[in-house]
């Protein structure tokens, strides 16, 4: 045990003296999480805000109903514009994200043919998308009510009165649905963008942080210090064990620091701390296993670094550390499950969505399975480096 701890302490001391370790283990992942979360903060639910202009050339009751709909939205700041041209200028100048132009006679023609034009600001694509969605949604509501009324009154009822239609629209908007579809799967639980990228970067970079383990063994073989270690009165396994402990500690500190820093400085909400701890520990072990196996295929430290980095990037992207894989094609989502990163992200997503430690045990189990299988194979191969 003494030999194991001595080797571990030496490796940790060396890592602490390597400035690039701090960069890879903390600064880059935290910096990227910060940049991503700042960039995408506006699309988060509850924090999205947009300024829209409305040109109400109709002035009727249905048009008024749409304006009130906009006024009632927390994330919308509404201003009025006198003409469509003025609204277009506001959009072009970036003063508004989009403008709604309600043409004259819109309320009167609500029975068919009327439409709300949307002018978007090209620099605010998200605001434009939301504006179009609002207009489309209103039109759909209007159509649905028309159909409902037509069905209720029969074919002879004709087009409903605009005032009556507006009242129905208002009532429809404020009436609670009689049935809702509650989606509560892991996929549907939403990360905030801050938490998503904090978790994504922590998971992505831990596979780089821990890749020094087997690489350092190759480096010791190349420099001759491994021979000196093997002549010392310690078991060859103690060298591997010591290096593994050092690698685990570095990975654990790196991920923990990112969890704490993103919580305190970025406002990330990781969820149940016990669950987070389970995922962090299993994630570090899986990262060690993967990088040990991949690095052990190499003959030189440089080669090992290349192999491990390639595996980390490919599986990291596939595992959804940068983009939610669940939003891609189904085959990609299924394929992603070959990456331990995907299971880690799934677990973190569940926790961030309110899941408990017990609920993420399947994800933890899958990650640990990766750790055991990959790490076992990696240890066998790495053990050959110390056997002569």
């Amino acid at each position: 045990m003494r030999g194991i701890l001595t080797v571990a302490a030496k490796d940790l001391r060396q890592r602490m003296r390597d400035r690039s370790a701090y960069v890879i283990a903390f600064l880059v992942p935290f910096g990227l999480a910060l940049i991503f979360s700042l960039t995408l903060a506006n699309v988060e639910e509850g924090s999205f805000t947009a300024t829209y202009a409305v040109v109400n050339r109709d002035g009727g009751q249905v048009a008024g109903s749409f304006v009130r709909l906009l006024e009632g939205l927390d994330f919308v700041k509404l201003r009025t514009a006198p003409t469509a041209a003025a609204a277009e200028r506001l959009a072009d100048d970036g003063d508004v994200s989009a403008a709604f132009v309600i043409p004259a006679g819109f309320s009167a023609s609500a029975g068919g043919g009327g439409r709300i034009d949307v002018i978007t600001n090209p620099d605010s694509s998200i605001g434009g998308v939301v504006a179009r969605s609002l207009a489309t949604s209103f039109a759909s509501d209007l159509n649905a009510i028309q159909v409902s009324v037509a069905v209720a009154l029969g074919d002879h009822a004709g087009t409903p009165d605009p005032a009556e239609l507006a009242a129905l629209v208002e009532r429809a908007r404020t009436t609670a649905p009689t049935a809702t579809l509650q989606q509560d799967t892991a996929e549907s639980r939403l990360f905030s963008s801050t938490t998503f990228y904090a978790a994504g970067m922590a998971v992505f970079f831990v596979f780089f942080t821990v890749e020094f383990g087997v690489r350092s063994l190759l480096a010791e073989r190349e420099s001759g210090t491994l021979a000196r270690l093997l002549v010392a009165p310690i078991r060859p396994g103690a060298i591997l064990a010591g290096k593994s402990i050092a690698t685990f500690v570095v990975g654990l500190v790196s991920m923990t620091a990112l969890v704490v820093a993103s919580t305190l400085l970025l406002g990330a909400d990781w969820g149940d701390p016990v669950g987070v701890a389970l995922l962090v520990v299993s994630g570090v072990l899986a990262a060690m296993g993967l990088t040990a196996l991949v690095s052990s295929l190499a003959k030189t430290p440089a080669q090992a670094g290349g192999y491990a980095s390639t595996a980390a990037v490919v599986l990291g992207l596939l595992g959804g550390t940068f983009f939610p894989v669940s939003q891609g094609p189904a085959f990609l989502a299924n394929l992603s499950l070959i990456a331990p990163q995907a299971w880690l992200m799934r677990g973190f997503q569940e926790l961030a969505g309110g899941g408990t430690a017990a609920e993420i045990l399947p994800s933890v189990g899958a990650v640990l399975a990766f750790a055991v299988v990959l790490g076992g194979l990696g240890a066998v191969r790495a053990g050959r480096l110390t056997a002569r």
């Binding site: 003494r2 030999g3 001595t6 080797v7 030496k10 001391r13 060396q14 003296r17 390597d18 420099s223 001759g224 210090t225 021979a227 000196r228 270690l229 093997l230 002549v231 010392a232 009165p233 310690i234 078991r235 056997a387 002569r388």
Partner: protein, 319 residues
């Protein structure tokens, strides 16, 4: 360093060492022994099997056949405790450049079971021996090549080994550092260490080693003291005398001396062939003078290990 009592007992005994790498037989039936206070040299060209041999001796490399006994205890790659008696100085600079000299010494000291005050005092002693006390707190990457070489040797001394194994420690070393290393090895012998020293430099083997094993193509071709090896191959000393006067009479007088094998005369003097030139020289000088010759200069040429190696293998050491 604390001097150890000089002992005559065998520290290292190895017999029939054999190791192959695929079809290549790197070491084939090598065996030798080293006593306390003795320096044994393995002399051979690059690729002769020296490093493979000492790797098996240190338990670093598994052997296909043979036996290694260190202080009477069997040693192989799986034995742990016995290795504590070995000090190993590899050919490469096996150091951690991002650690200080002190940290390197402490790390390896701990691996050898040293701790606390014992560790610190031993590290201080070794730093003194290798003359690095002043620079102990500096990172090794900032050391000169010579300082790194000294630290490389110092690490092999930490555990007070009974057997010190040095694998070509002077390769790529400047002359000043090389001389310092050779002086250190001479001191280790005086302190009672058994030293196994591999080299392909004939001068080093002649200067340091009590006995030399000549190894080539994985086989130990011959073994013994320098004189024994020279005698083994029939090489003899040559004495060149520059002389004037009655050279013909002088030649006859010298030829009659015991211990002189041959004499030849030329215009400037005599060439004498003898088994031990230094021993017969006084008699030779007296004989020349007695015959009316006047010696103006003497030059003795003893056959060296290079000649022995050439004789045994048919090629030069540095080929």
């Amino acid at each position: 360093m604390q001097p150890s009592p000089r002992r005559s007992e065998t520290i290292l005994a190895c017999e029939g060492l054999r190791r192959s790498f695929g079809d290549l037989v790197a070491v084939d039936g090598v065996g030798f022994h080293i006593a306390a206070g003795e320096t044994y040299g393995l002399l051979g060209p690059n690729g002769a099997g020296k490093t493979t041999t000492i790797s098996m001796v240190c338990g670093l490399l598994a052997r296909d056949a043979g036996e290694v006994l260190l202080e009477g205890r069997p040693l192989d790659t799986r034995t742990i405790a016995v290795k504590a008696s070995i000090g190993y100085v590899p050919q490469e600079l096996a150091l951690y450049p991002d650690l200080t000299g002190l940290e390197n010494l402490r790390f390896f000291g701990k691996l050898y079971g040293l701790a606390g005050h014992e560790l610190e005092s031993r590290v201080d002693e070794v730093l003194e021996v290798i003359d690095l006390t002043e620079r102990a707190g500096d990172r090794v990457e900032h050391y000169s090549g010579g300082m790194q070489r000294r630290l490389n040797i110092g690490l092999g001394l930490l555990n007070r080994p009974s057997l010190l194994v040095l694998d070509e420690p002077t390769v790529g070393v400047d002359p000043q550092s090389r001389n310092a290393i050779l002086s250190s090895v001479e001191r280790f012998r005086e302190q009672g260490l058994a030293v196994l020293y591999t080299t392909h430099y004939m001068e080093e083997a002649e200067r340091l080693c009590d006995r030399v094993g000549i190894i080539d193509h994985g086989r130990l071709r011959a073994e013994g003291t320098r004189r024994e090896l020279v005698a083994m191959v029939g090489e003899r000393d040559r004495v060149g005398l520059s002389a004037t006067g009655e050279l013909e009479a002088a030649e006859a007088a010298v030829r009659a001396l015991s211990g002189v094998d041959d004499v030849s005369r030329h215009e400037g003097g005599l060439d004498v062939v003898a088994r031990e030139a230094h021993r017969v020289l006084p008699a030779v000088l007296a004989a020349v003078a007695g015959a009316g010759g006047h010696v103006t200069s003497v030059e003795i040429a003893e056959p060296n290990l290079e000649a022995v190696f050439l004789h045994l293998t048919g090629r030069a050491l540095r080929e």
